[in-house]
């Protein structure tokens, strides 16, 4: 039991890293970013590449990734997505446009990754066993979990107790109303999008220390992230974290107690059930 | 104009949203060919009551019946087909469809399932009835507010309702439009349709309604002829400082 809980929670850390960024991007900037997973793989590539070519510790890479991915994602939002935001009259139209545009973007990023490294990003960092409450796990997974927790807490505090954070939350609730009370909506959206992309890329760098990735694996993470965000409720960081927790523990539980062949199926089943009984997600506000 | 037979009957209806009581233990009857006004301050539960009759919500307690048949446990589409038509507080039209198509929508799925040229002809009749047949082929976006309301009314009438629910149909109209609107409802009344209306415009209530049900904080506080209830002290208290009565 302890085993399941600990492994499950550590896996949740991974999922939270994957989903928190997307939630900011979708919840605040209203961009359904299908290239989320590819950004994650870019982060992983950076860690792999720097580690294998120049022995740079992935932890250092994480710090290097922050400014680069923030700028990169900001540019993507500013120059690629703002025109779509401007031309779409309804949320539905923007959703369609952003699905189309970011799908194209995901291909471009895959192309870039392939031209750098088409094979597996195989390396190991901190792949050391560690015992927690009698359960064995690895140091790199623990590290990813801790960073995820740190980011989650920091994000929560920032969103709830800082001026810019409150502005971000206001935009998440309503772009129109926020505009009316003098919030610079395009700027806040751009920041939220860039911040979301940064979290995702940092997640990728950390995840690459224990999962062997390659250029085309982004979609796996995008799917997981979408599921978690929707399950937790759009715009709800808390929801994403709890949904990630549920998924992690359920997957590990099913793998251990039932059959590993059913892990992913059970994760999706939980998702499907939650939406059946709470169509707006765990923490989402009901809108009609 | 008291007619003995109740066509619509609301008995002990309550609606709670979580801990919030929107309507509590409300009862009233509507007789055939009668025009009943539901009035009360903002947030008193009028629209919730309308939503329960038309089937948007199910009552938490109590029963609503149409000609003695229980309807409060039926889905909206069945209630509509059994003869309850409504308009919405904020006009709800179908922007992708033309004016005529919007009205046809009302004719097709009602209890007289019209289709094809029959539905089209009937829709034209309804548009003429509300006075905007000339705009049949315009897009919805080109209409003024009152015309949008007329289209919505035509759509509802196209379903040939036995009971018509008008949810603040006159709200937001300018004085000229208001006069036109009141005249239109008068005409409907003269045709003998049973109408339940939620309204804030007191002049309209005085001139249109046979009877009024006054609710405040979800509960009925008075019922009777408009002049009678509007001079009731409790009703005045309920409204004071709260609304424009």
């Amino acid at each position: 039991m302890i085993d399941i809980l600990i492994s499950g929670l550590l896996l949740s850390g991974t999922y939270a890293l994957v989903a928190m960024g997307l939630n900011l991007q979708y919840g605040v900037a209203r961009i359904m970013n299908l290239a989320n997973g590819e950004v994650l793989v870019l982060g992983a590539l950076a860690a792999f590449w720097l580690y294998t070519t120049s022995q740079v510790s992935p932890l250092l890479t994480v710090i290097l990734v922050i400014p680069v991915s923030f700028t990169g994602n900001w540019i993507i939002y500013r120059f690629l997505l703002t025109p779509l935001v401007k031309r779409s009259k309804t949320q539905g139209a923007l959703e369609v446009d952003s699905i189309l545009a970011t799908f194209g973007l995901s291909f471009i990023i895959i192309g870039i990754i392939v031209s750098i490294e088409g094979g597996f990003f195989a390396y190991k960092y901190l792949s050391e066993p560690i015992r927690i409450l009698g359960s064995t796990t690895s140091l790199n997974r623990l590290l990813a979990f801790l960073v995820a927790a740190l980011i989650g807490v920091a994000l929560y505090l920032w969103l709830n107790f800082s001026r810019p954070g409150v502005a971000v939350r206001a935009v998440a609730v309503s772009t129109e109303a926020s505009g009316l009370v003098g919030i610079n909506v395009p700027r806040v959206s751009a920041i939220a999008f860039a911040l979301g992309g940064t979290i995702t890329a940092v997640g990728g760098a950390l995840i690459s220390t224990f999962i062997t990735l390659d250029a085309s694996m982004g979609v796996v993470f995008t799917l997981k992230a979408l599921i978690i965000v929707i399950m937790g409720g759009v715009g709800e960081i808390r929801g994403s974290i709890i949904a990630a927790g549920i998924l992690g523990v359920v997957e590990t539980g099913v793998a251990t107690l039932v059959d590993p062949g059913l892990t992913l199926a059970s994760a999706y089943l939980i998702f499907v059930l939650i939406l059946l009984f709470r169509p707006q997600g765990l923490f989402g506000k009901h809108t009609t | 104009m008291r007619v003995s037979k109740a066509i619509l009957s609301v008995k002990g209806v309550s609606k709670r949203f979580g801990g919030l009581v929107a309507v509590s233990n409300l009862s009233f009857d509507v007789a055939e060919h009668e025009m009943v006004g539901i009035i009360g301050p903002n947030g008193s539960g009028k629209t919730t009551m309308m939503n329960m009759i038309s089937g948007v919500f199910k009552p938490t307690e109590g029963r609503i019946s149409l000609r003695g048949q229980l309807i409060s446990d039926l889905p909206a589409q069945i209630i509509s087909r059994s003869g309850v038509g409504r308009t919405f507080q904020l006009v709800r039209l179908l922007p992708g469809l033309t004016v005529l198509e919007n009205v046809i929508a009302g004719a097709v799925y009602g209890h007289r399932r019209r289709w094809g040229s029959d539905a089209e002809g009937f829709a034209h009749d309804m548009l003429e009835r509300v006075g905007i047949d000339a705009m049949s082929y315009s897009p919805i976006s080109s209409l003024t507010y009152i015309d949008q309301k007329r289209v919505e009314l035509a759509r509802t009438l196209a379903g040939e309702p036995e009971v018509l629910l008008l949810d603040e149909w006159l709200a937001g109209l300018n004085p000229t439009e208001l006069a036109t609107g009141i005249k239109l409802i008068h005409a409907l009344r003269d045709e003998g349709i049973t109408v339940v209306l939620v309204e804030h415009v007191m002049d309209a209530i005085r001139s249109l309604c046979d009877r009024c049900v006054v609710i405040s904080s979800g509960a009925k506080i008075a019922e009777g002829a408009p002049d009678e209830v509007l001079s009731d002290s409790e009703v005045i208290r309920a409204y004071l400082g709260d609304d424009d009565a």
């Binding site: 959703e95 291909f107 192309g111 599921i227 759009v234 999706y268 | 179908l94 097709v108 799925y109």
Partner: protein
């Protein structure tokens, strides 16, 4: 989806007859593209049947397509059944599956519906893999038939036409009109007496039925069925993208979306073998920015302009 008229049906018939000659004019590569076009036309048109009028973006195409392919694969490989019986079974299973999904998704709207269908498709993919692994005891699903591309092309053409015809009939029926009203405003739809749940489930079932048929027809072409490939979520995205690119407001929208999309795709493949995915992505963005309302929007704009000039 707008109501279709007789003129449109005649055009469709003419194009279908012309298309039927394609295998005589083209072979090899161009016939192969024809098969691809037909496959996506069929999938995207059946997608538009439901998603066009309701504006619900479904990402469940791969679930139906995969079920079709998988049933044909399992049946022919493990139980020695005929292709045709499995094709029929696929249609039935696809329809039942879609009806169940339809019932489950009734309360969802917007992005919740989008991701729900995606999650459900993924769940089905994993369940199918697990069942195959544990109960069917399969040794790889070989679908070895004597069908050539001509046959598949015609089968898909017939499927596409059936979908179109069904769509055309629906668009002129009370059901089709009901769907337009539901797409406009679901509350209104209920209040004019439409059983919205029933209408949505019926339409979604049609989508699933045809999706499974297409998957079943494609199985002989792939010869070897791997669950993870027939259930690939990418297929769902491609179907949506091609349909939206064409324009989902018209039944013929997918046709004008699929053809240019696949032609561009093939051009990119042939000319940028090492970076085809990157160039494809760029081409994609270009289309999104240059054609805000899809090809249908563009065509109708031009049509309107021409009308105004004459």
């Amino acid at each position: 989806m707008k109501r279709s008229n007789w003129q449109e049906l005649i055009w469709a018939a003419v194009i279908t007859i012309l298309a039927a000659f394609w295998p005589m004019l083209a072979n090899g590569y161009w016939l192969g593209i024809g098969v691809d076009v037909m496959m996506y036309v069929a999938l995207a048109t059946s997608w538009v049947l439901f998603s066009g009028p309701t504006h619900y973006i479904s990402l469940a195409s791969a679930a139906f397509f995969g079920v079709g392919g998988f049933i044909v694969g399992t049946g022919m490989s493990d139980y020695g059944t005929s292709f045709w019986s499995m094709l029929a079974l696929s249609a039935v299973v696809g329809a039942i599956l879609a009806a169940l999904i339809g019932l489950a998704t009734l309360r969802l709207s917007g992005v919740y519906f989008v991701i729900f269908t995606l999650g459900l498709a993924e769940m089905i993919r994993n369940l199918v893999s697990w069942v195959q692994n544990n109960f069917l005891g399969s040794r790889g699903l070989y679908v070895l038939t004597d069908f050539s591309d001509e046959h598949l092309f015609w089968m898909l053409l017939v499927t596409s036409c059936s979908i179109y015809l069904v769509g055309w009939i629906i668009s002129r029926s009370r059901l089709g009109f009901a769907m337009r009203i539901i797409g406009g405003n679901e509350t209104v739809a209920r209040h004019v007496g439409i059983n919205t749940s029933m209408a949505k489930v019926i339409l979604f079932t049609t989508t699933g039925l045809f999706g499974a048929i297409v998957g079943a027809i494609i199985a002989p072409r792939w010869s070897y069925i791997e669950p993870n490939q027939v259930f690939s979520p990418q297929l769902s995205f491609f179907v949506v993208i091609m349909a939206l690119l064409g324009g989902s407001g018209r039944l013929w929208g997918p046709v004008v979306g699929v053809i240019p999309f696949l032609l561009i795709w093939n051009w990119v493949d042939a000319n940028f073998p090492n970076q085809s995915i990157l160039v494809l992505g760029l081409a994609f963005l270009l289309i999104v920015y240059a054609l805000p309302n899809g090809f249908v929007g563009r065509i109708e704009d031009l049509h309107n302009k021409m009308k105004r000039h004459s």
